[in-house]
């Protein structure tokens, strides 16, 4: 999804997950190029599709993860294990129950959401079964404060970009005026400055307003592209 390809099907994701676990069962660390035994795989259909789309290569009795296959598998495993952690630790579900629910929505998580869960849980290293959770960008930068996926504009830093999620006001005039200036759900925005007044770029428009208005414009910030350098790397993994 992230690199503009069609998203994997659930079946494909499950198949990747199975390969990943087989590699781990051999006490190997999954990487691009590591392979797992093909025998008695559960998700045959997904497997065929993965081969067709170039995520894995079949070599005799083995399947080998390609570069993209590894990245996708890693992402999915991370989502899966974070979901399990969330459900068992935060929602206090029994392991079995947790696994079942996690199965359902691990497929729906995107990277941003996974990152939020990761921060919320304090960058867990293992899933409830004791398997390693591949670290994400947030773990590397050691981010500790959770940032909701949708925030009022006042929470953005000057220079950040995002898209308008919704306008949280019941004042009709304000709503109508903002939308007439192009500040509408779904429009990409760039916050130019916050002081002395907020200045926002939407399409070709530049709009200025005061703080009270900024608290009513809810945006989905674009992913932060600046890892916080120098803050102790808490994790050292065998993965890249």
């Amino acid at each position: 999804m992230e690199n503009g390809k069609t998203p994997l099907t659930e079946e494909q994701e499950e198949a990747l997950s199975e390969i990943w676990m087989r590699i781990e069962n051999r006490k190997e660390i999954p990487q691009a190029g590591t392979s797992a035994p093909l025998r008695r795989m559960k998700h045959r259909e997904g497997l065929d599709e993965l081969i067709r789309d170039g995520y894995i290569k079949a070599e005799g009795d083995e399947v080998r993860l390609t570069e993209t296959g590894f990245a996708e598998a890693r992402r999915f495993i991370r989502n899966q294990r974070l979901s399990e952690r969330l459900l068992s630790d935060v929602l206090n579900l029994e392991m079995e129950e947790a696994e079942k629910s996690a199965c359902r929505y691990e497929h729906m998580l995107d990277t941003d959401a996974a990152e939020s869960i990761c921060i919320l849980l304090g960058h867990p290293r293992t899933c409830p079964h004791g398997n390693l959770i591949p670290p994400g960008e947030c773990c590397v930068s050691g981010e500790t404060s959770l940032r909701p996926l949708v925030v009022p504009l006042s929470e953005l830093e000057a220079g950040e970009t995002g898209t308008v999620a919704y306008i949280g006001t019941t004042d009709h005039a304000r709503l109508s005026y903002l939308s007439s200036l192009g500040v509408m759900t779904g429009r990409p925005i760039e916050l130019i400055q916050k002081k002395p007044s907020y200045i926002l770029k939407v399409d070709e428009n530049t709009v200025a307003f005061d703080e009270s208005v900024s608290r009513e414009i809810f945006v989905r910030p674009s992913q932060r592209k600046r890892p916080i350098a120098g803050i102790g790397r808490r994790f050292r993994w065998g993965w890249r």
């Binding site: 009709h172 109508s176 007439s180 130019i192 400055q193 399409d203 530049t206 709009v207 200025a208 005061d210």
Partner: protein
């Protein structure tokens, strides 16, 4: 409520039968320029949203139509008086078609309004103006596809250069009823249908009105259906609140999102963007960033003020006034005129023209030699600033400070304009959203903002009293404004409204536009001012001849002499000041020049004069715009406050032994 016709700018509509063409559009996209192209009538055009505050009408030169220019509307739900005026014009029951003027580079925004206007069912033409700016930003607009999708003629123009005029005229001749129709889902459609049925059958554009009413507050029905009967209004309010109860989010948002989805579909088909553009105006872009920067922005603000001071205060009020007064008037014009008129045998008649309070020696000389150059210079500077697009940035910088006194950044326009002419500025307070803001702005304008004529005299005077004096004077006046504004904001019920403004791109002002604006503004000012100058002088003359002046001076002397420690004669300046503040200030200047006042007295008298009731023209406008009750309270307050503040100021200066 704003008057639809104002004697100041509008002429009558002559033939009611002919079909009207109404210009509608968002603020600051050139409706007024289009209007003057179509009608050949001059309108004040500026790079600031909200300059047109009233409806203008004129006959189109090349078409058999009356053209009506309306104040810009932001959204379709009105925010201020001027926007209500626009909606009323659209909803009036004359035969008409609409010319929507839109911003070519903001197609989405323009089309949002188009879709709303399409609901009127009136013949419509869409003019995408400022096509050059869109082109510079790399946009390519397929007008043919737009026209097909909307079912109306669509043209591209660059109004300031008259590009696209022929196509526009051609389109206006064949407007058509839009074929596009947005449906808003069963529940909203049902409510809209109910409102349409509730409205009288003869009512024009019922669906359009219904959707506005659904998008607005319940009180909006009262505003737009002013003279309809109570039962209808109540019924509509019920329908609106019942419809609203079915949605979690405001109805306006639901409606807007439906429109936005349509707009998106149309835009996809008719707009492409070329990449790698928009390098043209780099330096202007940088300026944009700098002038709203939390630090550099204030530096720019300081520079602008300094420039304004140098241009108006030093150049105009100093050199040009000196030249006009000493060389032109006292040197060239007055001697032969006095020579001629001194042959009049009857002393009273002679003095009426050339005496101490003579129409020519005092009235005309003040008006033309002192006031005129200053005001003209101010309007040049203001028009220039306005056309660059700096004023909204000024609003961005000052919004915080304005919030303290119950106003917001939007009030920058009336306040800055007030430095030119308080009367004009009081009229422009209409662009403010709430009655509360309009009252506060009117109060502050009346109380503390010195108009350019007065400012010029003050600057001239203070340069003779000393540089420290002007600084102290400004501090004192600012302090009074803050105190009064703060208290007014506390006393008057209501909240300070939110501040949202569009920042138009910087544009390089066109000399001809700046000059013609200055010309019309100055002409307006002169026409307003000179009669009052002459009237004031005449009143003084008769008061002097009949001895009333002496008695009035006696009446005022306890205040003037007792509280302010000023010479008795200065009360004459205060009486003059009521007719025109600048005139009064000029009178004080004279007393100071003649050595009848020392620096301290001059300082105190000037401060009081500034706080004092504004000129009589302004008072008239205050009564007209704010109503008798509010105006009476305002004027009495200002009067009492000026006396109090002057007394305190005088007391402290003397106590602290400050001299100039």
């Amino acid at each position: 409520m704003a008057q639809e016709n104002n004697a100041l700018l509008t002429d009558g509509r002559e033939s009611p039968e002919s079909e009207k063409l109404i210009l509608v559009g968002q603020p600051n996209i050139g409706k007024s320029v289009i209007f003057s192209i179509l009608t050949g009538r001059y309108v004040v055009v500026s790079n600031y949203p909200g300059t047109t505050v009233e409806v203008l009408s004129g006959k189109a030169l090349e078409l058999d139509r009356y053209v009506i220019d309306t104040p810009g509307i932001g959204g379709i739900v009105p925010r201020s008086e001027d926007e209500v005026v626009t909606l009323r014009t659209i909803l009036s029951d004359e035969r008409k078609s609409i010319l929507q003027v839109g911003d070519a580079k903001n197609l989405r925004r323009t089309l949002m309004l188009t879709l709303a206007l399409a609901e009127t069912g009136l013949p419509l033409v869409l003019d995408l103006n400022m096509a050059d700016e869109a082109e510079k930003s790399g946009y390519v607009i397929d007008t043919k596809s737009l026209a097909e999708n909307l079912g109306i003629p669509v043209v591209l123009t660059v109004a300031t250069e008259k590009r696209g005029k022929e196509a526009l005229l051609d389109a206006i001749r064949r407007p058509s009823r839009p074929s596009i129709r947005v449906t808003y889902g069963p529940r909203i459609e049902e409510a809209a249908g109910l409102i349409v049925d509730a409205l009288p059958r003869a009512f024009p554009s019922r669906r359009f009105l219904a959707l506005i009413l659904l998008s607005g507050d319940p009180g909006l029905a009262d505003d737009l259906l002013k003279d309809r009967d109570e039962g209808v209004k109540r019924k509509i309010r019920d329908i609106v609140s019942r419809a609203q109860a079915q949605f979690g989010e405001p109805l306006s948002q639901v409606i807007m999102e439906k429109r936005a989805a349509h707009v998106e579909r149309i835009v996809k088909k008719s707009l492409t963007k070329r990449e790698g553009q928009a390098l043209a105006a780099r330096s202007l872009r940088t300026l944009e960033d700098v002038s709203t920067h939390p630090l550099w922005g204030f530096l720019v603000l300081g520079l602008v003020l300094f420039g304004l001071y140098e241009f108006v205060g030093v150049l105009a009020a100093g050199y040009i006034v000196d030249f006009f007064e000493d060389v032109v008037f006292r040197g060239l014009i007055l001697p032969p005129v006095i020579q001629l008129l001194s042959h009049i045998p009857e002393p009273h008649v002679r003095n009426f023209f050339i005496g101490e309070y003579g129409q020519i020696t005092m009235g005309l000389t003040y008006a033309l030699a002192i006031v005129f150059p200053i005001v003209a210079a101010f309007f040049v500077a203001f028009s220039f600033l306005e056309d660059t697009g700096y004023l909204p940035r000024l609003a961005v910088m000052l919004n915080k400070a304005f919030t303290r006194v119950g106003l917001n950044g939007r009030a920058v326009i009336p306040v800055v304009l007030g430095l030119g002419c308080g009367t004009m500025a009081t009229l422009v307070t209409r662009i403010l959203e709430t009655r509360r803001e309009r009252i506060i702005a009117t109060l502050l304008l009346a109380l503390g903002i010195p108009c350019s004529a007065q400012l010029g005299v003050i600057l001239g005077m203070s340069s003779k009293i000393g540089g420290g004096a002007i600084f102290l004077f400004l501090c004192f006046i600012m302090l009074q404004m803050l105190v009064v504004g703060y208290l007014a904001a506390k006393v008057l019920p209501g909240d300070t409204p939110f501040f949202i403004t569009e920042l138009p791109p910087y544009r390089i002002p066109r000399l001809d536009n700046v000059l013609s604006k200055t010309y019309f503004r100055t002409k307006w000012f002169i026409r307003e001012a000179i009669p009052y100058f002459l009237l004031g002088t005449a009143v003084l003359f008769f008061a002097d001849v009949t001895g009333v002046l002496d008695r009035l001076m006696d009446l005022f002397s306890p205040v003037v002499v007792g509280l302010f420690d000023l010479p008795k004669k200065s009360s004459q300046a205060f009486i003059l000041g009521f007719l025109r503040r600048d005139y009064g200030a000029a009178g004080l200047f004279d007393l100071f020049d003649q050595g009848l006042m020392d620096g301290l007295q001059a300082f105190v008298s000037l401060s009081v004069m500034t706080l004092f009731v504004p000129c009589i023209a302004n008072v008239f406008i205050i009564f007209k715009e704010r109503g008798y009750r509010v105006a009476f309270l305002l004027v009495s307050f200002v009067f009492a406050y000026a006396i109090m503040a002057g007394t305190v100021l005088n007391f402290f200066l003397r106590r602290l032994n400050i001299h100039f």
